[in-house]
Point group: C2
Amino acid sequence: MNITDAQSDYVERVGRFWESLSMGRTAGRILGWLMICDPPHQSAVELRSNLGVSAGSISTQVRLLEQLGLVERVTFSGSRASFYQLPDHVWSRSMDTELVRIVQMRALAEAGSAVIPNIRPERVTELEEVARFFAEEWPGLLERLHRRVEVKP
Amino acid sequence: MNITDAQSDYVERVGRFWESLSMGRTAGRILGWLMICDPPHQSAVELRSNLGVSAGSISTQVRLLEQLGLVERVTFSGSRASFYQLPDHVWSRSMDTELVRIVQMRALAEAGSAVIPNIRPERVTELEEVARFFAEEWPGLLERLHRRVEVKP
DNA sequence: CAATAGTTTCAGAGTATCCTGAAACCTGTG
DNA sequence: CACAGGTTTCAGGATACTCTGAAACTATTG
């Protein structure tokens, strides 16, 4: 199945959005296409021809996306090629990784404890409070998200 | 007041963290120094000498940070210079802007409605559900954050 | 209204990032 | 064990950032 104009538009749009998050346009295009392609799993060659990027680029970006947990590799007996597809519940699961950012933020704030200023110390301490708040809230929030998204009403 | 070694370490650490968010090391250094400097407001010249970057760079990055609402410009009668400082509650307030990202995400998901696939349509539709979930939850979450951070127990 | 403190703009240099195309490298299969 | 399909690596080119230093600009102040 070949890509249509409407699909190409969407792929480009996802690409630009991903780029605005400074995560690379090609990676975004791959995700965009994997969201709407049929079948949902695509070989490197199919990605190449539908997205118009080189084999090397596909290889690099797919590995990157795999590391981020946004793409998974599947294989089929009888076919030598690898296929790539979005894992189940990518989007809700991708929110899980925000927790590591929160932890990094907390670590940054704690590293500031040695240099807390006398005037307006909250410039440093508030960062820690914010990090602590999200560290507390995030798990419960995610649980509700997952319940809502994974078990349909 | 001149920057100490411990302070410089912290500034560099904030700089690297900011860089890891792909927001530029110099911008991060400015924020780091503005978190711990005394007085809390600094002129471009002070930023220059404490951070070791050029006047042009300070000018550019400070404008950028101002646009993001992470730095504010203040002036004092009797002084010709502008001074830069962190606004009150920068860190908790900076979480407010996440809402626009959520809205963008929702728009992206809605743009996909024209190309929803027959098999595994949730690859597209779940993105919208996630966006909607956060759009609903974020305001309340922020309100609790602000209450907690702004009125101390 | 001239001098000057302070700020912004801009060209050029340096650096990082991303892509391509080709070569190298795997690994099933005949 | 050689072949061939498929994937990864890598050098080189293009692009985009970001910084610097100097010139241009702005606006107080004497």
